[in-house]
Every structure is written in C-alpha cells, then in structure tokens.
C-alpha cells in the first residue's frame, strides 16, 4: 500500500524527514510516536500528497507520488479519496457554516445521493456522541468538539485508509474512550489506520506496529506492541 524509500524532506534549511524507509500494508494499524517536532505531521502530509519529498521515492499502491504526478487531477483524486486525514489542528480543518454542512461536504463531493448523505451524517454524529452539535457553527466549538467534528467529517467519506494526527488531544476522558473504541472497530472493519499519539496507552490496543521517531527526524524503531511490552525501559519512556 504505502512504500517509502530513502525519503528526505526539508523545510527550507531545516530537516523534516531524514532518510525514511517504510512499508505499510493494506489493513495494518500503525502507531506513530516520537518527541515534538520529530516529523510525525510531516510524514502524514507527505502520505496524503499535501507536500512532496525532496529526495526518495513514495509509492501508493504502486503509483509514484511526487510533485509531478500529484498535479494530475486523477492521481490527486485517487489519493485523496483513498485517504482520510484528521489534522492535528482541527480548527483549520473546518470551513463550513454548520457541523451538518461540514460532515456532508465530503460525501457531497463524492456524488452520493442526498438520502445516503443524510444517513451518513446522522450515523457519524451518533457514533461520536455529538448529535447536540449538529446545528452549531464549527468555529464556535471548543478545541475538543472541533476535533470530534473533524473525525466525523473524515468518517462520513468512508475512506479505506484513515490517518489521525494526535486524535486524543484536547478530548475529555469520556471522548478519549469513545474515539479509542471507534479506532478498534475501524481496525476490525479492515481499515488501514495510521495514528500518532504522545501516549502509548491510548493506541496500544489498536496498533499492529509502532513506529518511533527520534529528534533527528529519523525512524528509530519499528516495533510490535508485544516487543514494547517486553522492553521495560522503552515502555517507561512511552508511558505518561
């Protein structure tokens, strides 16, 4: 599914990603961890084609994604319809006049009929327990509520791959549990999930592999939860 070889990404003269080699298979659930500014969000933007690597090869389902190919509308549409991305900063992800309009924007673009769209919107509001927000303006919501709306707006498009950048940030414990349960169910539904978090115990039940980045923007470890459980020092470093 995702194949990255020798990926280098620079922000002007600052390193974003350093010699990244990575393979993610269909249906896998991946956790991404690492210190602040280590390149987690950069990796997500690269996977979604929002930015392109300076060096290296990125293949999505054998289709090369680079600055040239992403300009083709067919490739961009294919990538964006396949991947749903929840931004770290949800307030910049929401641009519609109401939560309902926000949730229906994606399915409307996909050309679904109105009944199907209404059904998806109602289901996602229920799933995330945010029915009471349906008619609210996204701009006026709190940070946590905006995060839930952003997650719901991605789910209504039902993409086979879902990328979430720190989905638990700003959520109350009640909603953290709700999102955790949803992630487990999405995994059971054979979706490919890539989730970043600063807290290993939010994602340990969901993930098949955990990718740990270091301060040098390099992939330090690619471990299974079983291996992490066995390594006490590592486990302690991921505990909060």
């Amino acid at each position: 599914m995702f194949e990255l070889s020798n990926i280098e990404f620079l922000y002007q003269n600052r390193i974003g990603l350093n010699n990244l080699n990575l393979k993610i298979n269909d249906g896998e659930t991946i956790g991404i961890m690492g210190p602040n500014g280590c390149g987690k969000s950069t990796l997500f933007k690269l996977l979604t084609g929002l930015i392109t690597a300076k060096d290296g090869i990125y293949k999505f389902n054998n289709q090369i994604i680079n600055a040239k190919t992403i300009k083709k509308a067919s490739v961009a549409n294919y990538l964006h319809q396949s991947i749903g991305y929840v931004f770290q900063n949800s307030s910049s992800q929401l641009f519609n006049e109401s939560v309902t309009a926000e949730l229906s924007f994606g399915p409307l673009q996909m050309g679904l009929d109105q009944n199907e769209i209404n059904q998806r919107v109602t289901d996602c509001l229920k799933l995330l327990h945010i029915e009471h927000l349906a008619e609210r303006v996204p701009y006026q919501l709190s940070g946590g509520e905006q995060k839930l709306v952003a997650i719901a707006s991605v789910l209504t498009m039902n993409p086979p791959i879902i990328i979430m950048d720190e989905p638990f940030n700003g959520l109350s414990p009640k909603y953290q549990k709700i999102v955790q349960k949803i992630l487990i169910k999405l995994k059971d539904a054979n979706k490919t999930l890539i989730v970043s978090s600063h807290n290993y115990y939010y994602i340990n039940e969901v993930i098949d592999r955990c990718l740990i980045f270091n301060e040098n923007h390099t992939l330090k470890n690619d471990l299974t939860p079983i291996k992490i459980e066995r390594d006490n020092a590592l486990k302690t470093s991921l505990e909060y």
Partner: protein
C-alpha cells in the same frame, strides 16, 4: 443508550482503483495553495543580515534622505553619483547578500517599470528614460535598505524615532501574525483539497467560506495575543523608551549622507 456499533456502510471497505479518465479539479484552490506556499517560504527565508552595527534609526533616516533627494533631483549627474555611492555600500555585503539583493532589485524593478513603459510611446522618450533610471535608483536604495535590516530592526528604528506606539504595536503584531495566518490559510485550503474529490466545486462559495474562516480566526488570534500581552503587564505607552544614541559605526553613514546632501546642493538641483 446509544448504539456504539459502526454503521453498516462504514464497515464496508472499498478499495479504489486509479481511474485515469480526465477529472476536472478546481484550479482556483491549487493556484491559491501555490501562492500561499510561496508566501510562507518567503517568510521562512532567514534574512541574510550582515553584522551591521549601525543604529537602526539612522539607517531609516539615511534611506529616507537618499529617497527624497533622488526624487527631488532632475540632474543626471547627481543620480549617477548616488548610484555609485549605493554600489560602494553594496560592495561591503557578502556574495550571498549581493545575490539576494540583485534578485530582489530585479523583481521590484520589473514590477514597477511595467507602469512606466507606456509613457515611452505616449510621452517624451528621454524624460521617460530619465524617470526609469531614477526609479531604478530608488528601488536599489530600498532593496539595499531591506537587505541590511530585518523587520525587527525596522521596528526598533521606528521606536527610536518616537513613532506612535500604537502604530508600532500594530505593525509588530501584523508582521508576526501574518505568517501564522498564512499557515492557517494553507491548512484550510489543504482541508478543502483533501475533500475535493469528484464533483467540481462552487469556487466562489468555497473561497468565501475559507476567507470567512480566516477573518474570524485572525480576529480571535489578535485578541488572544493582546490579552496575553496585557496579562504579562503590557501597556501601550512603553515604560522603556529606546534612545537615539550614536555609535562609532554610525559616523561613516553620517558622512555618506553629508556627501549626498552636498552633492544635491552643488549638482543636484
């Protein structure tokens, strides 16, 4: 008790195939994204400021003096003299700085000369050429000034010149937050692009929504920053006044200005 099970449509995972048929995308979003990316890159460019030890206020005054005198003069000889003086000043810069100065000068000059060129056809050719030459010197002077000063130094210069605090505050916050807002706008446009699949968008409506969001968020950001400043004891009338002291390095700049003024009086009028 709410049903926490995934709805049936969400349980289905449809793997899509790459469809090579021609799909029309909203070009306006991509064009705007390119502009914003260029803008952000420009702001992230670390200025190549040399270890210029001259006072910020004096550099500001010097730039204004040369600007005013060049604009007031009709003498070819005077403009040539100023040109040589600016070139001599430029020689003190590093190669990278000169490269960037040249690049900025060409961009600014081309943008402004477009408006003057029609006058060659409809007006006096020699007068227009003189006007273009004068314009080039003004732009070179501004480009040189921007090359040796960061925005922060310009703000300090304005403070030392006792410019109203409110103007300085607005300028300072705008310069700092324009970058933050550009990043916000870029993320907003990315969010649109990621969900822009299939149907062509109603461009005006989308752009309206995005700019509405930008306005609301900039309002929120600005008031949050101002409140944070107030909480940390900020008062519009600053307690610490910046003084206009002269340093050793300033005397060379004063001498240059005196030369320009004498040249203006003798050959410039």
């Amino acid at each position: 008790m709410p049903n926490d099970d995934l709805p049936n449509w969400l349980k289905k995972t449809n793997h899509l195939e790459l469809n090579n048929q021609v799909v029309k995308n909203s070009r306006i979003i991509q064009i705007n994204l390119n502009i914003i990316s260029f803008f952000i890159k420009h702001f992230q460019n670390e200025p190549l400021i040399n270890n210029n030890k001259q006072s910020a206020w004096l550099k500001l005054i010097s730039m204004l003096i040369i600007l005013i005198l060049v604009l007031c003069s009709n003498s070819n000889r005077f403009i040539w003299s100023v040109f040589i003086i600016i070139l001599l000043q430029t020689c003190q810069l590093s190669v990278k700085q000169i490269e960037r100065l040249g690049h900025n000068f060409i961009k600014m000059f081309l943008c402004s000369v477009i408006f003057v060129i029609p006058n060659i056809i409809i007006g006096n050719v020699s007068a227009t050429l003189f006007f273009i030459f004068r314009l080039a010197i003004v732009i070179l002077n501004v480009a040189y000034f921007l090359q040796i000063n960061s925005w922060q130094q310009i703000i300090i210069g304005l403070k030392q010149l006792h410019c109203p605090n409110l103007i300085i505050l607005v300028l300072d916050i705008s310069l700092k937050y324009i970058h933050t807002l550009a990043i916000f706008l870029q993320e907003n446009l990315w969010a649109v692009r990621l969900r822009m699949v299939g149907k062509p968008l109603n461009n005006q409506r989308i752009i309206g929504k995005v700019f509405g969001q930008l306005y609301l968020n900039s309002k929120k950001y600005t008031s949050e920053v101002f409140n944070a400043m107030l909480l940390r004891g900020y008062k519009i009338s600053s307690v610490h006044k910046s003084s206009m002291n002269l340093k050793k390095a300033d005397y060379s700049l004063i001498a240059t200005n005196l030369i320009v003024i004498i040249l203006f009086i003798t050959i410039g009028i």
